[in-house]
Amino acid sequence: MSPSASTLPGDWIGIALLLLGCAFYGAGTAGLLRFPDVYSRLHALTKADNQGLLLVCAGLAVLARSWRVAALLGVIWLLGLMAAAVSAHLIARHARHSGSRRTSSEERP
């Protein structure tokens, strides 16, 4: 995205928020791939990705420069938050009921 005549200073804030959001998504994905058990992977996903989604939505809202779009993005974030919370809860419940253990710190490589 090269700076053009129409790029306002506010746009850079939006772009910075987008990049920061991507960094959170990257961290969440790294956690999903690298963490040892179901629970810590879920922890990484739900925490980091929801924060990433918030930052991406905020960045897009700043870039859109419209309160209507910002409100819609807020609703999208809330729905995403809810879907993530419930699905993570159900996956963790299922893992616990089927006997998946938490990896203790001694067992970690």
Binding site: M82, V86, L90
Partner: protein, 311 residues
């Protein structure tokens, strides 16, 4: 726009890579997840190509509903004792020439498409010129309902035939619980009470927006099916052994609305399938949305009808 080209290139590579993994993979569950991912990347590709209507439909139907259907089928397969990982088998000898010829055909079509000159009065150009006369702002909805209404009507017939076929092979339905998740779990209850009304709202919005903006009966029906799938999975509704009159009417509503309005045009001396006004578009789209949602939910639930579960 170099960054745009980069994104397109990434999408194209992801599509090729994902489709290869889906076809060659042997672990059933992972292949299903990859197929859902494939649908999402296709949806992104459609939106990059400037086709938001298709992107919406692909994300909702191709990735969401097809994925849910496949996961449901996977559950039944595994419950029936199927192995998740298929044994490695040598591909048949015929596979190589078929693959080479198919690749050559695709390359040939691609090369031919590059060399095609723009036809001045192609159907798409005529549609865009005549869009004002249709009274609709969204060219896709205008094509689906006004210019090529017959095709859309037959699509509804295909959906109906699919459901009838599924009913024919369904066998005995045991009226009983189907749910996988207990809706009395606090979080699931909260999800239901919030998401079910929101999906209704989004479906109606998509339906109404479809006349002027991306959206329409197919997208709205798919979102409504999402609500239906949620109700089935949480055991809020349960299968019934036989379809009642209401279910049958809902399932044929889309086709019936098309046929009645299209045929009444002939009776009134107008061209067959011509619509009398924008109200007819809304009427047909509403009927289509209901038919699509009910048909897809019944297919997902593997049921002839659904009734509310009394807690």
């Amino acid at each position: 726009m170099t960054i745009g080209v980069l994104v397109d290139l990434m999408l194209a590579l992801a599509l090729v890579g994902l489709s290869l993994r889906v076809v060659t993979g042997r672990a059933l569950f992972r292949d299903i997840v990859l197929f859902i991912l494939f649908g999402l990347v296709i949806a992104l590709s459609w939106s990059r190509l400037g086709a938001p209507d298709l992107a919406l439909a692909e994300a909702a139907i191709g990735a969401g509903l097809t994925g849910a259907l496949m996961l449901m089928a996977y559950r039944r397969l595994v419950a029936g004792g199927a192995e998740d990982v298929a044994p490695r088998r040598r591909p048949p000898l015929l596979a190589v020439p078929v693959a080479v010829l198919t690749g050559a055909l695709v390359a040939l079509i691609g090369l031919a498409a590059l060399g095609v000159e723009r036809v001045p009065d192609a159907a798409g150009t005529i549609v865009l010129e005549e869009l004002g006369a249709s009274g609709l702002g969204n060219a896709v909805t205008a094509v689906l309902l006004v210019f090529r209404g017959l095709d859309t009507m037959l699509e509804m017939a295909v959906l109906l035939v699919a459901l009838l076929g599924a009913w024919a092979v369904l066998g005995e339905v045991h009226p009983g619980r189907l749910h996988q998740v207990d809706r009395r779990t606090p979080l699931v209850g909260a999800l239901l009470t919030t998401v079910a009304p929101v999906t209704l709202l989004i479906a109606v919005h998509l339906l109404l927006a479809g006349t002027d903006a991306p959206g329409g009966a197919f997208q709205a029906g798919a979102v409504l099916t999402g609500c239906g799938v949620l109700l089935v999975l949480t055991g809020t509704v349960r299968p019934r052994a036989a379809a009642g009159l209401a279910t049958k009417l809902l399932v044929i509503a889309g086709l019936a609305a098309f046929v009645m309005i299209g045929a009444s045009a002939v009776a009134l001396g107008r061209a067959p399938m011509s619509l009398p006004g924008t109200w007819a578009v809304y009427l047909i789209e509403t009927a289509m949305m209901l038919s699509i949602a009910v048909t897809m939910t019944l297919l997902f639930a593997r049921a002839r009808a659904l009734e509310p579960e009394r807690a």
